[in-house]
């Protein structure tokens, strides 16, 4: 008798959570996936939205652009972080913590504020744009912040602190004694990293890369703040299709959103496969 009232009370206590989750998490996702298999204005069941998404040149380019900018920015971000995070581990603890704190703070600097800062730096009247003009250097003459290179540059900025944050702990898996042992056995520094160091941090590297990739695939605010809906990115297209100024097509948006989710899940899956392979090699 007591346990029954107890159970009933527990069930009652969980009601608010269950309601909120159904209303704002599960149902929207389910409706979105279902709608993506419907015709325009929710009529009938069809694959037409996916056919449109994957054959129309416009949306295919958006997908390609998203994947490319994510790949490039993640690659640059992780390359910088590989060296920067290792350098950090060479410093005394107090200095290390201060630097990490600063780097973490800049990782809050993303989205709209970041886009704005880059306009101040590299926009048409930006600090560096003018500086280089005055110096007569024309490296920036061709540069346009509102182009792909510009956007990629802004993406790199938010990738670097995140990559450092994620990669930094993996270096502690390498023990100093290993380096000494390798050196005693006649290995050069290069050989140490080639055969011991890099394989040890490899899972961390691949994991970090996939998180960076997913992070930039889903990014929306930065590009939107720079040029509104003009960039042809998958996330921007989705936003424009559900809340655009012209006509909204939630069914097509749903199909694109499912595709975006699949690319992200694929990245995670590849990452896991790689990790498993790396670990088998180690054994």
């Amino acid at each position: 008798m007591r346990t029954q009232t107890n159970l009933r009370m527990i069930a009652l206590v969980l009601v608010p959570f269950v309601l909120i989750i159904i209303a704002f998490e599960l149902m929207p996702l389910a409706v979105m996936v279902m709608d993506s298999f419907r015709g325009d204005e929710g009529k009938g069941w069809t694959f037409a939205q996916y056919v449109t998404a994957l054959t129309s040149k416009y949306y295919l380019t958006g997908l390609k652009n998203s994947v490319l900018i994510s790949l490039y920015s993640s690659l640059v971000g992780i390359l910088v972080a590989i060296f920067a995070a290792y350098s950090l581990t060479r410093f005394p603890t107090s200095l290390r913590e201060k630097i990490l704190l600063f780097s973490n703070m800049t990782s809050n600097f993303a989205g709209v504020p970041l886009a704005f800062a880059y306009v101040v730096l590299l926009g048409n009247n930006g600090l560096f744009t003018l500086l280089f003009q005055k110096m007569g250097w024309d490296i920036l003459a061709e540069f346009d912040l509102y182009s792909w290179i510009g956007l990629a540059l802004v993406y790199v900025y938010f990738q670097i602190p995140l990559a450092i944050l994620l990669l930094y702990p993996t270096y502690f898996a390498i023990q100093e004694q290993w380096k000494e042992a390798a050196a005693l056995l006649g290995a050069s520094s290069f050989q140490f990293w080639r055969h011991i160091g890099i394989p040890v941090i490899m899972p961390g590297l691949v994991g970090t890369f996939s998180i960076l990739f997913a992070n930039s695939m889903g990014a929306y605010a930065t590009a939107y703040a720079l040029v509104g809906s003009n960039f042809n990115l998958l996330s921007i297209r989705i936003g424009a299709l559900v809340a655009g100024d012209v006509m909204t097509r939630p069914e097509l948006a749903g199909a694109l959103a499912v595709i975006l989710a699949i690319t992200m899940i694929a990245a995670m899956w590849v990452n896991e496969r790689m990790m498993r392979r790396v670990r088998r090699d180690l054994r």
């Binding site: 959570f17 290792y86 800049t106 600097f109 730096l121 003018l130 605010a221 559900v242």
Partner: protein, 264 residues
């Protein structure tokens, strides 16, 4: 060996400089009179900050954002503490399910979440579109992973189940045991999760823009619109925002550390 350390120092300095320059430029822009003809600002002034605090549109946007963030976090705090506690103590079999539900928003970018929300709530029986409650609901889900992890981890570190058992053994009811023993012990960890969620929501733009946009102009949406009209004003907002967020993250860090160290 010394040489190498120098190399590490140089590299770190370059990266830090790279991360610092945009911040510095934004700050300079916010205190400059005019800065589009010359490399460095033509003059310095504090008037943009003065203009900012006397701009009713800014005050309104800030107020709206604070309102939405605080309401969301209060609801999340109450609901999540109770839910995580009930599941940990009474329904451990559901723990995996709860974890799955709570971590799902991590894998779904906000622009994807927005699609379903807009479809459901734009018409029909649940026409919430343009209502602040839609944003609050969406925000509840957005901070779910952080709130869940923060609360669950602190319940684990203080071993909530044993604490409750001990309280009951000493004659306290379950409710009393939870409120007087478990809750004060998990408070530091919960506070960290709360502050983290707050800083995430404060910088949230995608949902605020897509779900409610101009109907209910929140701070980030205001910022985007202001960027085109007056850059100096926009940059003074960015500077305030960054200082504010930095203070919160510093508090989070300190609290997080003392919460960890307090129990060894």
């Amino acid at each position: 060996m010394k040489n190498r350390l120098l190399w590490h120092k140089a590299l770190t300095a370059i990266v830090l400089l790279y991360l610092f320059i945009p911040l510095l430029a934004t700050f300079l822009y916010s205190i400059s009179t005019d800065w589009y003809r010359t490399v460095l600002p033509e003059g310095y002034t504090g008037k943009w900050y003065g203009e900012l605090v006397s701009d009713p549109r800014f005050i309104d946007a800030l107020g709206r954002t604070l309102f939405v963030c605080i309401v969301t976090i209060l609801i999340s705090l109450v609901v999540m503490v109770i839910t995580v506690f009930a599941v940990t103590v009474y329904l451990p079999r559901l723990e995996r399910l709860l974890q799955g539900i709570a971590m799902l928003p991590y894998a779904v970018p906000p622009v994807v979440t927005a699609v379903g929300l807009i479809t459901i709530y734009s018409q029909g029986p649940f026409a919430l579109s343009g209502s602040v409650w839609l944003v609050i609901g969406a925000y509840f889900v957005a901070i779910l992973p952080y709130m869940y992890q923060g609360i669950r981890n602190s319940m684990r570190t203080v071993d909530a189940i044993s604490l409750l058992d001990a309280a009951e053994l000493l004659g306290a009811s379950k409710l009393k045991g939870f409120w007087l023993v478990v809750f004060p012990n998990i408070l530091p960890g919960v506070l960290v999760a709360t502050l983290l969620s707050f800083s995430i929501l404060f910088g949230e733009f995608v949902l605020a823009n897509l779900l409610i946009g101009g109907h209910y102009e929140m701070i980030q949406v205001y910022l985007v619109r202001r960027m085109e009209e007056n850059g100096h004003l926009a940059s003074s907002i960015v500077v305030c925002y960054f200082i504010f967020i930095s203070i919160i993250s510093a508090v989070v860090l300190r609290l997080g550390r003392s919460a960890k160290e307090g129990r060894t």
